[in-house]
């Protein structure tokens, strides 16, 4: 379980806090989507949960963050890293090895994964992310999207209990984006991995994440299960967060018909709703 309590964090040499009074809880095996405008503090939140704050980024830290019972302030970074895998937003700075294979090996070697298990994990991660054919390539020869997948695979291979991803589909085409989220769902459901993902494609969050947190100017504007957050469609729009069209549709219908309709997040649900209303 991830518990953030009254977290306020100000980076060193900054006046304005990047995060203010953040409290949120993600249960074991939870799936939280984080969305919000640029500069809202999304990346800072990920850094706090991964232990990079306060261990690597100095600043004023108030409140507490605990991951599976470990307080990130008191636990050493390698200790937290054994539980938490982080995929950075800037893929190019995350990848440290010149070759794909070495990039996957890096974490596995460092955390002392048994020798016989390493090839199994590597193959599995490459296959799951769908880049088995890139294994022997150099990083320099890959496209942005391929690099992003390598970065994701290198973290998936570590089988972390908690997976943090900072806009993992930024460089990906729609099909690969869905593929990444399907993988997250698979890890979440089959291995019980807790997932926190920052994502700007609201449609993906609506479909895959159980919980949603909307950040704005360092504070949580809304949080809760995805459908209840989507009820605030108009306010979300004011923050620059679009709602999926089906959600807008169900909201408009609720207003026009004068009776509350369930919030739809998928086209199939909207279809069912319309069929019911026509009848």
């Amino acid at each position: 379980m991830i518990e953030v309590k009254d977290l306020t964090f100000t980076y060193k040499d900054e006046k304005k806090p990047a995060l203010q009074n953040i409290s949120l809880t993600v249960p074991d095996g939870g799936f939280l989507g984080v969305i919000g405008p640029a500069g809202a503090g999304k990346t800072t939140l990920i850094r706090a949960v991964s232990g990079m704050i306060p261990h690597l980024f100095p600043g004023d830290f108030y409140g507490s963050v605990s991951v599976n019972g470990l307080d990130t302030f008191e636990t050493s970074l390698p200790e937290i890293s054994r539980l938490v895998g982080t995929v950075f937003q800037d893929v190019d700075s995350q990848i440290i090895s010149p070759m794909v294979e070495d990039e996957l090996l890096y974490g596995l070697e460092n955390f002392g994964i048994p020798r016989e298990e390493i090839p199994v994990r590597m193959e599995e991660a490459l296959r799951k992310v769908g880049i088995a054919d890139l294994r022997d390539r150099t990083i320099g020869s890959l496209s942005g999207g391929q690099r992003q997948k390598v970065a994701i695979a290198s973290i998936v291979a570590l089988r972390p209990q908690v997976l943090l991803l900072d806009e993992p589909t930024g460089e990906l085409d729609p099909q690969s984006s869905r593929q990444v989220f399907s993988l997250l769902k698979e890890l979440n459901e089959e291995q019980g991995t807790t997932v926190i993902v920052i994502e700007q494609k609201i449609m993906l969050l609506c479909e895959f994440s159980a919980q949603l947190a909307v950040l704005n100017q360092g504070r949580i504007a809304w949080q809760g299960d995805t459908r209840s957050v989507l009820l605030h469609a108009e306010e979300l729009l004011a923050l620059g967060v679009n709602c999926p069209r089906v959600t807008t549709l169900s909201r408009i219908l609720s207003a026009r018909l004068g009776e509350e309709q369930p919030v739809c997040t998928r086209p199939e649900e909207a279809e069912a709703m319309i069929r019911r209303l026509i009848r």
Binding site: L77, V84, T86, I95, P98, M99, D102, I139, G140
Partner: protein, 248 residues
């Protein structure tokens, strides 16, 4: 430039050598080049360089590197024969001793530069650094510095061309300028390049830290680098090269 560091896969004798042995051969060639004062022996060492390239299965690249070095060598050669003032004049201000010294300097330059470039093209950086850590007990931090440096060379070039494209799109005519003019146009771009790389360094350090950088020990490497008979043979050849240089 990127091509120079690109790994060429293969299964040649050189590929099968322990990375540490490859370094040993490289160093042996260099030492021999500096110890020997015999012009014929130096020419022989140059042949050894070329032979290494051909055995490694990269003749094309070997010749490219060789040709590139020849240009620098030619420049140095001219400089040397004009500067050395001892010996008997042969032609104009050129002396016999000048010619001999120049030939030796140039040969040494080519001999010393080639094997490292060749070995680097048939050795994965990770194999090199891992074996340095495992076999020679080099502290991992140094090995990491080396491998990340090489990892970021193509990244740097990519970023540089991106900045230049952005400038071109805003009307800077890089393509029309030549020589010093072009250089003075490129120089100001180094600031954004430096700043973005420095920012990246922090991120990369963080990425390494959250994947257990500090937990790594000498025994962490997954790949093993045992020495074989082949390595012994290569070591003997290296010893012979140096012995020959001393005797001749």
């Amino acid at each position: 430039m990127t091509d120079l560091f690109r790994y060429v896969p293969g299964n040649s004798v050189i590929h099968r050598l322990n990375p540490v042995t490859r370094l040993l051969v490289t160093i042996a060639v260099c030492v021999a080049a500096f110890v020997s004062g015999n012009l014929y022996y130096l020419a022989g060492l140059l042949a050894v360089d070329l032979l290494i390239g051909f055995i490694a299965g990269i003749p094309g690249k070997t010749l490219t590197i060789f040709k590139g070095l020849l240009k620098i060598a030619l420049f140095l050669f001219v400089l040397q024969i004009l500067l050395v003032r001892r010996g008997t004049p042969v032609l104009w201000i050129i002396t016999d001793e000048g010619l001999l010294t120049a030939a030796k300097v140039v040969l040494r330059l080519v001999i010393v530069c080639m094997p490292l470039a060749l070995i680097l093209s048939v050795t994965k950086v990770s194999d090199l650094t891992n074996s340095l850590v495992q076999v020679l007990h080099v502290p991992y931090q140094y090995a990491f510095t080396l491998s990340t440096a090489i990892r970021f060379i193509p990244q740097f070039l990519e970023e540089m061309s991106m900045i230049m494209e952005a400038q071109t799109a805003r009307g800077v005519a890089f393509d029309k300028a030549r020589g010093l003019k072009k250089f003075s146009m490129i120089l100001p771009l180094c600031a954004p390049l430096l700043i973005s790389s420095l920012r990246r360094t922090d991120q990369t350090a963080a990425a390494a830290a959250v994947r257990g950088f500090s937990l790594r020990t000498r025994r962490s490497g997954y790949k093993q680098y045992p020495f074989t008979l082949l390595d012994l043979a290569a070591a003997l050849c290296s010893a012979l090269l140096i012995a020959g240089a001393i005797l001749l």
